[in-house]
Amino acid sequence: MFSSSFRKYLFICKTRIIRSFTYRFDVFGNILMQTIVMVTTAFFWKALFQDETFRNGITADNMMTYTIMSSVLSVLFTTGVERRIQESVEKGSIAIDLMRPVNVFGMFFAEDLGNLIALLFQNLLPILLLGSLLIKVPTIVSVSAIPMFAVSVILSMAINWLTAAIFGMWAFTAISMDALFQVKKHLIRLLSGSIIPIWFFPKWLAGILNALPFVYIYQLPLDIYIGSASNEEIQGRMLIQLIWVLILAALFYLFSKKSLKKVLVQGG
């Protein structure tokens, strides 16, 4: 039996699923747009690679898989938590949100989870299918890589959500958040390997990026998927990924305590 508090989150989750299915045009429009972006990126790599092979044995074919899986992952990394916090603060409804008998971040998390479940069917599957049809079937390098890939993706999602929530909490202090959210979006887009893998980056830059959390969102699971790194290397990087999850979780905990207190003192 579900406990009653879990039920509450379940309800929030379900409302989100229904809401995101409501606009049929948005659903089809989104799939179309995401497919176009995916296919054009694939052609970019085809044109760049021609028949050449990159230094660590990567072929154009690997890059096709990389591109499709990156699009698929981007669906899993959709979050609304920063927007929700910002809206809640701007409209002043944060005080009401805080008074509800559920943890406010728990609520945002449940909403994102609900969205995600809807997105699995309305975005992820169609994109995977269209990618397989239009580009190629993105097969994983080996069956044995599946569990590692799965674990790594879950850790990636944790990093992604926690980063979003931490950024969102800045909305409690700053007035104009739009630009900041954009900065975060572009940093993740360009420095996480989501479009261009960081093997292409100069050594010194790749070194710096390996120390930052961004590459552990896209690059690591994708490297596992296409098999572009040795097992030892992967294990080492997954350890760093796990450490980043823990660091971000601690930061999240700290910030959420602090910003909630601030709201309560100010009275929202």
Binding site: K14, I17, I18, F21, T22, R24, V27
Partner: protein, 325 residues
């Protein structure tokens, strides 16, 4: 000034299923239904009239106002402003009208009030001299002068409504449409607004069309009422004439010295409690003086009070009629 002919507006509404199953289904197929919001309205408004447009929420009142101001395109029929079809000749016809929506401002939130006015001056191509003249008039009626330098976001609702009224009057429109202008206003601002409507109507001869739920607005301002419900006209006429027709009765409240209930052949007893009895009687059949003298001949009376059927009775009756039909 305004002619509305056989006006219709239909909406195509898609029906969404309930629950998760319903939403999933409507992803692929959804049912469409035509709903008639306005179903054949005909009326004419003369120059210089103040007309109250009333009706319950969802009556088609807003839709009608929006068609009269060129916002919505009628499904069929036409609205003529000063002889011109507003749907067809929007740009030249809207020059003749001013519109204020009570819940929506056209003032630029971030800037001083005067910035919005200056923008409107350029949009409507108003000469500087005319612009200053009208500002002076508006200052004398609303005291807008002291607000010109104030950023709109720092204004109270009352001040903002004053700003919006001035904005709507800058180009000296022949007709002014006010959609629930007094909503949320305090007593002082309401008074200022009603004074403004009366004055521009007498000084400038501006025709005013007003929608409101506020009975005070109607009683104080409107010479004529148009009552609309379910997209059709329920009543159209002079306020007192509508009262005469829909509610031709009065109520007499009599307080006796004892707890008794004397009856009268031509008066109906509405209620009786303690020493107080309320009688309802038709104006045509009986005068109040007659009723009082008849009753006092039966029992000694301590006090009396007479009530006319109020505007709220009219509206209640008019709305109730539509529910039955």
């Amino acid at each position: 000034m305004i002619t509305v002919r056989d006006l219709h507006k239909e909406y195509l509404v898609s029906e969404k299923g309930k629950g998760l199953g319903g939403t999933l289904k409507s992803l692929f197929r959804n049912e469409k239904k035509i709903i008639g919001a306005v179903n054949g309205l005909d009326f004419h408004v003369n120059k210089g009239e103040i007309v109250g447009f009333i009706g319950p929420n969802g009556s088609g009142k807003s839709t009608t106002i929006k068609m009269m101001t060129g916002i919505l395109t009628p499904t069929s029929g036409e609205v003529l402003i000063d002889g011109r079809n507003i749907a067809r000749y929007r740009k030249e016809t809207v020059r003749k009208i001013g519109v204020v929506f009570g819940q929506r401002t056209q003032l630029n939130w971030d800037l001083r009030l005067e910035e919005t006015f200056e923008l409107l001056r350029r949009i409507y191509q108003i000469e500087k001299k005319d612009y200053l003249d009208i500002l002076e008039v508006m200052d004398s009626i609303l005291g807008i002068g002291e607000l010109l330098d104030k950023p709109v976001r720092q204004m109270s609702l009352g001040q903002r409504v004053k700003g919006d009224l001035t904005a709507a009057m800058l180009h000296s429109p022949k007709v002014l449409f006010l959609d629930e202008p007094t909503i949320g206003l305090d007593a002082g601002s309401k008074y200022a607004l009603r004074k403004f409507i009366k004055e521009i109507n007498t000084i400038r001869g501006t025709t005013v069309i007003l929608t409101t739920h506020d009975l005070g607005d109607i009683q104080e301002l409107c010479e004529r009422l148009i009552i609309i419900n379910n997209g059709v006209m329920m009543d159209d006429g002079n306020l007192s004439e509508i009262v005469e027709r829909i509610a031709p009765y009065r109520t007499l409240t009599v307080e006796y010295y004892d707890s008794i209930v004397p009856t009268h052949p031509k008066a109906e007893i509405l209620s009786a409690a303690d020493n107080v009895v309320r009688y309802k009687f038709m104006k045509r059949e009986l005068t109040a003086a007659r009723l009082i003298s008849d009753l006092s001949s039966l029992h000694p009376i301590r006090d009396v009070g007479i009530e006319e059927a109020g505007i709220d009775d009219i509206i209640r009756i008019a709305y109730a009629k539509t529910v039955q039909s």
